[in-house]
Amino acid sequence: MNKFEKYTLENGIKTIIQVIKNTPRTSFDIFVRANNELSSMPGLASIMSRLLLQGTKTKTQEEIAEFIDENGIEFSVDAKNDFLRLHAYCLNEDFAGVLDFVQDILNNSTFDSVEKECLKMEGEINAELDSPRAKAVDNLAKNIFKNHPYGNTYTVILDKIKEINKDAVITYYKNIFTPENINIVVVGDVTESDILAKLNQNFGNLQKTESGLLPFEVPFLKEDKVVTIAKEDVQQAQVLQGWIVCAIQDDDYIPLSILNTILGSAGLSSRLFVELRDKKGLAYVVRSSFDAMKTAGLFTVYIATEPKNIQICLDGFKEEIGKLQTEPVSDKELQDAKNNIIGKRKFFHETNSQKAYYLGYFENMELGAEFDDLLEEKIQAVTKEDILRVANKYLSGASVVSLLAPSEFLGQE
């Protein structure tokens, strides 16, 4: 796509700068490796992230919120399974101010209002869980990744949120915000030398600590499971089936991504869409998804359908996956799927904010920011034998089926 340069700050922070001339806004991102043993306290990473916006030694929460809104900055700190992402997207004229602001919240946050933040998060989760889909997705992830940090879903967090305290937050913060864990990404109409000087000044003093990262154990699913939630007033059943699959660093990441496109994520032309929606009229939404994380991946097929069709849909999933496991895809379908991924990447790299995301993401996931540009070549190298192989390797084993429907359709009358 566009050229970028890699630098190392004085304390070792790996930094990526991509200059895109004549663009009005600059994206500033900090990615932090976050798979720390302490995140076995569910919700801790989220609470820590939220507290970065709740007050520093010299600024109140209100002043922080005013700064962000007055300058119209898109600002977020999100905790994901393997990393935290701090993201700021602002007009070029406000960029220097944003760097000072981020420096302050990273160095001087007080982490005082843990209890209040937990209360707020609890409320937001409760609101979210009134959506049937959110409930069924939650139930899938927590069961497939049982006793693993990837399984720390909304409902698990609600159960354990009382355990979160200020000491744990500060310890966690100190453990992960270290130079070797951090990648900084800047994308916009900037001058590299100016930015580097400023980054060194603001973030070059962050000290190394002795903590290292303990990698997660690789999750493993022993046997098939069906998990259900009864909800009496829904018109549609939520039907999900998931498998634990390969991690993002695995060589199978790319073939499995192509399989996902063929099966259920190309848009309107993937197999599940054509077979279950166009031909059988079973649903408005039907799709597959592949979420590749650092220690493992989650492959899911999803449909929302009239409750009496649950079994027909599960059989439909089985049939479509079965075809991928027994019949090689045609050369044309394979090439179409490759082109779909390659073409769509342009769409997802249109803004500076999107560009920064992918550079930081791949770098932080240990694949290197260059991976984003190598993808095309790697995609082209995948063969139909690869598709057949990954279909058998990953989608034959144990799976979890998550259903949400009125109880009479769950065999629970």
Binding site: R25, L53, Q61, E62, I64, A65, E66, I68, D69, E70, N71, G72, L91, K116, L119, K120, G123, E124, N126, A127, L129, D130, S131, P132, K231, E232, D233, V234, Q235, Q236, A266, G267, L268, S269, V274, R277, D278, K279, G281, L282, A283, Y284, V285, A304, T305, E306, Q335, D336, A337, N339, N340, I341, I342, G343, K344, R345, K346, F347, E350, T351
Partner: protein, 444 residues
Amino acid sequence: MAKIIDKKRQDYPYLDRPVEIYTLDNGHKIIIANKQGDLVNISTWVKTGSIHEDDKISGISHFLEHLMFKGTPTYPAGDFDRILEAKGAIVNAATWKDYTFYYVTLPKGQDDKDFGLVLDLHADMMLNPILPEFEIGPTFSLDEDAPEKRERYVVIEEIRMREDQPWTKVYNALNHSMYKCHPYKRDVIGTADIIASMPRDTITDYYKNWYTPENMTTIIVGEFDGDEIIDAVVEKFEFPEKRICKKPTWEQEIAQNQTEYMENTAKINTGFLIFGYHGAKASNLRDTILLDMVGIILGEGKSSRLQKHLIEQPKEPIFNMIGSDQYHFRDGNTFFVQANFQPEHKEKAIEDIKKEIEALSSISEDELKKAKKKLKIRFADTAETVSEIGETIGYYLTVCDDLGLFADYLTIMDSISVDDVQNAVKNYLSIDKATISVLIPEKE
């Protein structure tokens, strides 16, 4: 071939060249916007939505939108999606109260060859849909099983999906109450029994009446050299027969003069509510901007009043989420506050919001400044991607009938004072004009 009878140029902020607006002798409008980069967006906007529907055909605009993807004499059902998605295209369509639009975004390919392909496919889909009986599926009664499930059934599943969402439930109840006579009162998506029983002829008649050149605007956004592009678009959009739209009339809503309150229940654990108010017509840009500003000051971002007073400041907030915004509609916008709250505190939640809206009679200079900056950035946002540019142009031409408004936007916005905002609050947001829709958990 249709002839160009008018060509206008219109400055579009943040683009290097003015946007070109062509009007053809059949009434079809074609817009070319130049945006550098590999991606191109093509869309056609049709002036058809729930605004043109009645009780018998509620949901037909949206049903037709689904069926437009079901093939032409040249490209059978499925080809459009498959051919374009194999080029990495994002293909979709949307129907709302005032419009239906169809769009494709894709890399334009070497020597624009994929653009040529998408233009061909898109124009063909807009002009020559077969709306095949087989793909639509037979009519049926909801009491019995559908004899065969095709696209008719997909739409019914979409209706069910939406009705399972608490936010849809609370919004639909609000909408039904805010409009007593205007066609906006109906859900855009219609109802399952109307869709189940709608014959194909009704749909083809609707297509013929509404998909006429003067009701359609086609917008191309991307990087192109020279003038060949407009010729290519005109050539591809050759309407097969003369179509003239039968203009319907519809009742306008009478002004609301007392607070309306409605309460529904569902099997949920939290409470949902929306306060709705009638705003100006979307083409009244000044008043539209004024209430957009109120939406920012009241409920957008962590520094907004609702966030600050009802979530950040209380020790134990009773709200889980809260915000405010405005939907823009041809015959009158909807300004709303929406919140999720702890249901045991329902009365207090409603009172708290009422107080915050009353307190808008006094706005500070700082709040106005913040609202202006945020709107400026939102405005810059609409020039960042080819799809945003296409949508913005489509919206102004279809809902406001005037792309010029977009060029005036920043000037109008800059001229607004604190007094103007306070007056807008007085005009539009008094409590006797509020409609309040609440959804709370069913009692066990």
